[in-house]
Symmetry: C2
Subunit: 190 residues, 2 copies
Amino acid sequence: MSTPERLIESTRELLWERGYVGTSPKAILERSGAGQGSMYHHFKGKPDLALAAIRRTAQEMRATAEGVLSGPGTPYERVEAYLRRERDVLRGCPVGRLTMDPDVIADDALRAPVDETLDWLRARLAEIVEEGKERGEFASSLDGGEIAAAVVATVQGGYVLARASGSPTAFDAAVRGLLALLAPPEDRTR
Amino acid sequence: MSTPERLIESTRELLWERGYVGTSPKAILERSGAGQGSMYHHFKGKPDLALAAIRRTAQEMRATAEGVLSGPGTPYERVEAYLRRERDVLRGCPVGRLTMDPDVIADDALRAPVDETLDWLRARLAEIVEEGKERGEFASSLDGGEIAAAVVATVQGGYVLARASGSPTAFDAAVRGLLALLAPPEDRTR
DNA sequence: GTCTATAGGGGGATAGAC
DNA sequence: GTCTATCCCCCTATAGAC
C-alpha cells in the first residue's frame, strides 16, 4: 500500500476508535508507519487527512447499505435485512460517532460527508417504505420519511445503548422492538 | 456557589459541549474561575472531577425523565410525553454522548453512571409499555423491554441525525415516525 | 518523497509557599 | 483553601537537509 493510502487507512481506524478530538497526528504516524515529513507532504494537516478518511468511510458505509437495501425481498424484508445486518455493535457507527465530535460539527467541510451519508440513507429507506405502502405492506397512514428517520435513529441509538452497557444486547432489543412495530398487522399476533 | 460546586458545574457544561477527551483541566479552571491549586485540593484529578460531574448529570436526567413518565395520562400518552419533551436537540444528550468517548468507555467507574441511567430509563419505559398492554393500548404480542429499547434508541439516534444535519428536523421526524408505529390500531387510519 | 530538527503552546499533575 | 512555580510529555506544525 502506498504511503498516503496507509495514512488514510490508519486515520480511518483511529477516527472510529477515538474520534477526531482523540486522534493525534502522532498516533496516526505510529499506526501507519509513516514519518512526520511524509504526512505533511501528502496532506495539509490533521483536518485535511481526516477529511480524506471521513469521505472514504462515508462512501464505504453507503455502499454497504445500498448492497443490503437493493437486495431481494419485499420492502419489509429489505428494511429488516438492513436492521439485522451484521455489525460490530460495540465499535459503534464510524460515521454517526463523528456527530459527537465538537471539532467535526464546527467544521462544515468535515461535517458534510457525515450529513450527506445519513441523509442519503434516510431518503433511500423512505423510498422503500413508500414502495411498501403501495404494496399494502405498510399502513398508508405512515410517512415514509418519518419511518425512515425512526429506522436510522434506532440503529444509531442502538449503538449508544450497547456501548453504555458494554454488550450488544440492547442494540438487538431495540431492533427487535422496531421490527415488531413495523410488522404487517396480520403478523401482529404471532 | 462554593468552589467545588463551580468546578463541578463547569465540568458538566464542558463534558456536554466537548466530551471527556475534549475537556482539559485548564478549560475547566477558566470557566469556573477557580485556580489550579483549588481544583487539585478538592479533586484528585480530571477523572475524579469528571466522575462527580457525570454522576450529577445522570441524576438530573433521571429526575427529569421520571417527572414526565410518572405524570398523568395513559401509558401511550406518557411515552409520547417523554418523546416529545422539550429538548435542546442540537446539544445532544449529556449522558448518551459520553458513550462515544473512548476514555469514558475504558473506565468502568466513569461508564457506570451512564449505563445505570440508560438502563433505568429502559426499565421504566418497559413497565409503562407493559401497563399499556394490560389496558389493551399496546398489542399483547409486543415485548415491553424491546419497545422501551426502541424508544430510548430513537431518542439517542435522533440526536445523531439532528447534529449531523445541523437541524432538529430529523429528530422530530424520527419521533413522529415511532409514535405513528406505536399508535393504537384504531388510530392508524387517521 | 522522506528524514530529522526545531518550536510554541497545551495537557495533566505535583510541590510548597501563603 | 488558594496561589504560583515547575515539570515532563504530547499536540500540531514548519523548515530544511537528504
